[in-house]
């Protein structure tokens, strides 16, 4: 199992432990997306070297929040992922992203109830500074997940998110 595999399955377990956190799309490092639809985003103009991979590792919904997440074994390898997530946000916006998702999962997502996008990175080795706009999920050597909400979220939003990321 690679470090990225370990991150992917630790986060999958984490998300499934919270009843109000819903995985819309999970694309494991093996590429075998058996559980959920594979959501491919349109080709983006400002993606540069990250343009070949058109899906995301996780698309997660909790309440009105939509989390777009990319995974790596270590934080230092995530620069392409940062470019990709920012390009998705800037070029497609929440409306375009929801339109793409709806084409794959017409019954699951009801667009009007989602109004806030969260860009996120997951990794196991925290060996580089990550811009504050990204919410980070770090899986430690014991499999515990530590997360830090992005700096663009208001205190109210963080409180709202914390209510979803709390065990019942």
């Amino acid at each position: 199992m690679t470090a990225e595999d370990r991150v992917a399955y630790a986060l999958r377990t984490l998300y499934l432990s919270f009843p109000e956190v819903h995985i819309i799309s999970f694309h494991p490092p093996s590429g075998k997306a058996y559980e959920t639809p594979l959501i491919r985003f349109p080709i983006l103009q400002n993606l540069g070297i990250a343009s070949k991979r058109r899906h995301l590792d996780f698309i997660v919904r909790c309440g009105r929040f939509l989390i777009l997440q990319e995974l790596k074994g270590d934080a230092a390898s995530s620069s392409n992922d940062q470019v990709k997530l920012l390009a998705l946000q800037q070029e497609l916006g929440l409306g375009g992203i929801m339109k793409t998702i709806r084409a794959r999962v017409p019954t699951i997502v009801t667009p009007p109830t989602i109004d806030r996008l969260i860009l996120s990175l997951g990794f196991s080795t925290y060996n580089a500074e990550i811009p504050r706009i990204f919410t980070t999920f770090c899986v430690d050597t014991n499999g515990m997940v530590h997360w830090q909400w992005g700096g663009d979220l208001t205190q109210d939003e963080v409180s709202e998110l914390a209510s979803y990321f709390t065990l019942p």
Binding site: H22, I23, F26, P28, S30, Y34, E35, T36
Partner: protein, 444 residues
């Protein structure tokens, strides 16, 4: 036959293992397979010692790895392949070598995948609800039917159903037992039916599934191929000696003037091809000028196989394993073994593969041109201009040459080389010939 507690399930990756752990809980017998007995294949680099299980599984990993292998007492007893893909052309055959390897090793095989589905790119580009589903090529089912007829082992298919939007259905991350049984119930029943003799419905289940493969094979959805055809022996031999003849033979000469522009790379290679080296089945390379060079092909063509029409398979792909590796194995079983020959050595029909974007002689004049080929290569530029006109031709050529490795050198260690050498009598490259294992008795 094993009890569920005695079954070991080897999985290609964590995802396969997690999926099987999850879905088998809904089956009354498969749920008894211990969780610890469902695990991923060991990585070759972590293996310390050889074990009977590793030795027994190794033949199933000869080219690549199927998704699930069920084992009992250190022996494989069932192979399962799962994919969400379903393609109309050669891409649908890219896994076929796994089907064949299971049958050649006397093992039942189950293929789980969609029968028809919408393509991802069409769903991306078309208005909602307008993308139409494409059918999986019936050549796949015909190949499965032939494997069953030749080896007598089950080759079974279970449909991965699709949603209203034409995409394969998925469970979601919190499925109910009914959700799981709705999607995977038939697959689980078939797996249990094959594994456990105690199941009274076993024979009926397998027979019914095999009949379904036969039924699907009879529903032809492929047209006659431009790149796969039988040729009388005299013409086939002439073509091997002068591969440039293919330029006028494929689709009556129209093949290279339609479809993707990068077909012209293959045409360029073909137009200048000449045989400067021959690799014997044991891997020995004989270069032009060697005293035995001129004797090799006459010896090959004197073999009984070349008294019959030969199967020609042209592949214009660059150096890559898929999909043409699986497609070649499919052609072998569907067309080249009319008498149910169990090995390619025993076949009455020769299989000749033309692979013109590949060279095998690093010293050949043609490789010296191809390794640096690009927009400045005179003959290549002319072909693009002849097809598209002066302006568009230059643009197309520049666009096509952005791709890496337009031309490559043959290497025996790669998957496509292993597959081609195993199933083809002759592989014709742009500057030489690879003689495959099926013709090895000529050099015994």
């Amino acid at each position: 036959m094993p009890t569920p507690e005695e079954v070991l399930v080897l999985c290609d990756g964590v995802t396969d293992a997690e999926l099987f752990k999850r879905i088998r809980r809904c089956h009354p017998v498969l749920r008894r397979i211990p969780e610890a007995s469902i695990r991923t294949y060991e990585q070759a680099r972590f293996r310390s010692t050889e074990t009977p299980l590793r030795r027994a599984v190794q033949p199933l990993h000869i080219d690549d790895r199927p998704d699930l292998i069920f084992c009992f007492r250190d022996r494989p007893i069932l192979v399962v392949e799962m994919t969400e893909h379903a393609y109309t052309g050669d891409n649908g055959l890219q896994r076929f070598a796994r089907f064949a390897v299971a049958a050649e090793n006397g093992l039942p095989f189950i293929y789980f995948g969609p029968l028809r589905r919408v393509r991802d790119d069409e769903l991306d580009s078309m208005e909602e609800g307008t993308a139409s589903a494409r059918s999986l090529t019936s050549d796949l089912f015909e190949g499965m039917k032939r494997l069953n007829e030749i080896f007598g082992t089950p080759q079974l298919y279970v449909e991965w159903r699709t949603a209203d939007n034409g995409m394969p259905l998925s469970l979601g991350t919190r499925p109910s037992d009914n959700d799981i049984l709705g999607l995977y119930g038939e697959l689980l029943t078939l797996i249990a039916g094959i594994l456990f003799e105690a199941d009274p419905a076993r024979a009926g289940i397998i027979q019914h599934a095999q009949a379904e493969t036969t039924r699907l094979a009879a529903i032809r959805n492929t047209r006659a191929s431009d790149v796969r055809f039988l040729l009388p022996p005299k013409n086939a031999i002439a073509l091997v000696k002068n591969a440039a003849l293919l330029c006028d033979l494929l689709d009556g000469g129209a093949y290279f003037d339609k479809g993707k522009g990068d077909k012209l790379f293959a045409k360029f290679s073909l137009s200048q091809s000449s045989i400067t080296s021959i690799q014997l089945p044991d891997g020995t390379m004989v270069l032009e000028g060697h005293p035995t060079f001129a004797e090799i092909l006459p010896k090959v063509f004197a073999h009984r196989k070349f008294q019959n029409p030969a199967m020609i398979y042209y592949t214009g792909y660059k150096w890559r394993p898929d999909p043409h590796g699986g497609a070649a194995v499919n052609v072998d079983y569907r067309i080249c073994r009319p008498n149910n020959e169990r090995t390619p050595q025993a076949r009455a029909t020769a299989l000749i593969i033309f692979y013109p974007r590949i060279s095998c002689n690093p010293q050949s004049p043609l490789w010296q041109i191809l390794r640096d080929a690009g927009p400045e290569t005179p003959g290549l530029a002319k072909m693009f201009i002849d097809r598209y006109g002066p302006g568009l031709g230059t643009t197309k050529l520049e666009k096509c040459t952005h791709s890496e490795n337009l031309f490559s050198l043959w290497g025996n260690a790669s998957k496509q080389a292993r597959l081609f050498r195993r199933c083809a009598d002759i592989v014709v490259l742009n500057d030489g010939i690879i003689l495959g294992h099926p013709i090895e008795e000529v050099f015994a």
